[in-house]
Structure formats: C-alpha cells, structure tokens
C-alpha cells in the first residue's frame, strides 16, 4: 500500500511540475490560467492522497477548502476576463 501511495504522489508531483512549466512559459495568458487551474486540482489530489497515506484523513477539510478556493478564484478570473476582453498575447 505504501508503494502505491508513493508512486501516486510522485506521479502527481511530476504532473504538477509540468503544469507549472506551462504556467511559466505561456505563451498566451489563457495557457497560464489553464495551467494554474490544473495545478490546483492536482494539489487537491496530492493533499488528499498524502493525508490518506499518512493516516490523517480527518484533515480532508483542507482539500475541501482548496476546491472551494479554486471555485472562488476561477470565478474572479472569469469575471476579470469578462470585464476586460483582452488580447491573447502576453
């Protein structure tokens, strides 16, 4: 079981690194936004799996908070994009 968790966490980290790389290089702002969003959902998974792996699943509140924060920031972002229709170049 430990090995499974280890593999899962490692792969999630690699996937997170790929998202961050995409957020860093762009090239358009929408790529960055997309990368941030996928990174957030990956960290939700990471933290949930980590809490299961270390035997503290009662702290899942944090992952829940991430998901809600993800919602609130996505909404702020969508609102921003709607208020300011911007060109894609960054």
């Amino acid at each position: 079981m430990e090995t499974v968790y280890l593999i899962v966490l490692g792969l999630l980290l690699i996937a997170g690194l790929l998202s961050i790389w995409r957020a860093g290089i762009g090239p358009t702002r929408f790529d960055r936004i997309l990368a941030v969003n996928t990174f957030t959902s990956k960290s939700i998974l990471f933290i949930s799996v980590y809490l299961f792996a270390t035997g503290h699943p009662e702290y899942l509140d944090i992952a829940l908070l991430y998901a809600l924060v993800n919602y609130v920031t996505s909404l702020a972002l969508v609102n921003y994009l709607n208020r300011n229709p911007v060109s894609a170049n960054d």
Binding site: M1, V4, Y5, I7, V8, L11, L12, I14, A15, G16, L18, S19, W21, R22, T28, F30, D31, I33, L34, A35, N37, T38, S41, K42, I44, L45, S48, V49, F52, P57, E58, L60, D61, A63, L64, A67, L68, N70, Y71, S74, L77, V78, L81, N82, P85, V86, S87, A88
Partner: protein, 107 residues
Amino acid sequence: MTEILGSLLLLLGVLTVLVGGVGLFRFPDFFCRLHSASIVDTLGAGLVLLGMLVLSGSVVIAFKVAMIGALIFFLSPMTAHALARAALRSGMHRDKPGSGPSTGGMK
C-alpha cells in the same frame, strides 16, 4: 479486496492525470491543451477520488471525498468552458492550413 480495488483506481487515475499533464505540456496550441487539461484531468481526478472513496473507512471521510469529487466535477469543466469562450472572444482561433479558422465546435 477493497485495498486492491482502491490501489488500482488510484494508479489508473494518476496515470490519466499524468497523461493530461503531458498533453498540457506538449500539445501545440491552446485549444488542444485545453482539451487535454480539462477533460483528461477531470477523469483522472474522478478516478483518484473514487479510489480514495473505496479506501476511506468511515462515512464522514467518504462524504468529504465525495464533496471534493463533486466540486471538481462541476468546477473544472465550468472553468474550461469559460476559458474557451474568453479565448474565442479574444480572437484566438485554431487555424488549420486550408480549412479556415475553426471554432472547435463552439457555437
């Protein structure tokens, strides 16, 4: 039995997430990347959370996992939808040589 099932779901899900991540990293233009990052990622997250649902021993924890799953399931496609619209309105098209600008199935 539940451990094996849960592990399988976890591994399958994380592999899907990784494939989505590679797609996000490697695909040539924004709409391709959106496709990979939103659809594949939602499936992968759902599988991982399903695995944890199987592994969770108590009702409270299962409920929290299910809540997280529901949030991701609704929010991730919604954000992708809003992003695609915003990108389309900003004048970004998926230009294919010879076929003109395609709107990728958006109305």
